[in-house]
Amino acid sequence: DTAVSQTPKYLVTQMGNDKSIKCEQNLGHDTMYWYKQDSKKFLKIMFSYNNKELIINETVPNRFSPKSPDKAHLNLHINSLELGDSAVYFCASSQRDTYEQYFGPGTRLTVT
């Protein structure tokens, strides 16, 4: 039983392209997140959605646009990819009253 799933697991693309990463959770949680893990393994929050509503938007370039079609899905679309976007992107979810976040397996994005 996969709790938080992401696709694709690996994504290799060229600078300037547009790509999307999908995330789905089957835990019934109402809050979902995107985190970025850089090459030094530092994890930082990017976005958070609660019941399809954006509640956290850190200082992330406008090229990154999250979309939540329903509370079980939170996708991340990235326009005009740059070399510095290379990282592992983790999706997570939580139930607001428990605060524990469950993480997906990550998507390793490599921009060449």
Partner: protein, 113 residues
């Protein structure tokens, strides 16, 4: 500013050695505290958490952590490590209302068989 600091970047131990990983946080308000583990090539998994109550919390796989409010610390311990504990360990904090996790920079633990 909210921040989490992990004292050790890379820790190397032999099997059966005792482990203590330091974590200090800076946060204006009451917090929830977490330790996550990331095994090589895998996603983050929750080891243990502290919300309130007994400051000594026990997690999975024999890990425990102690919250010392006066020191703003939440150190992770294990009395006897195994080779399978080789992983990256992250301390994290969030406000008691939940929301974004603020992570430390991680500590890489290597356990030699």
């Amino acid at each position: 500013a909210q921040s989490v600091s992990q004292h050790n970047h890379h820790v190397i131990l032999s099997e059966a050695a005792s482990l203590e990983l330091g974590c200090n946080y800076s946060y204006g308000g009451t917090v929830n505290l977490f330790w996550y583990v990331q095994y090589p090539g895998q996603h983050l998994q929750l080891l243990l958490k502290y919300f309130s109550g007994d400051p000594l919390v026990k997690g999975i796989k024999g890990f425990e952590a102690e919250f010392i409010k006066s020191k703003f610390s939440f150190n992770l311990r294990k009395p006897s490590v195994q080779w399978s504990d080789t992983a990256e360990y992250f301390c994290a904090v969030t406000s008691i209302q939940g929301g974004k996790l603020i992570f430390g920079q991680g500590t890489e633990l290597s356990v030699k068989p």
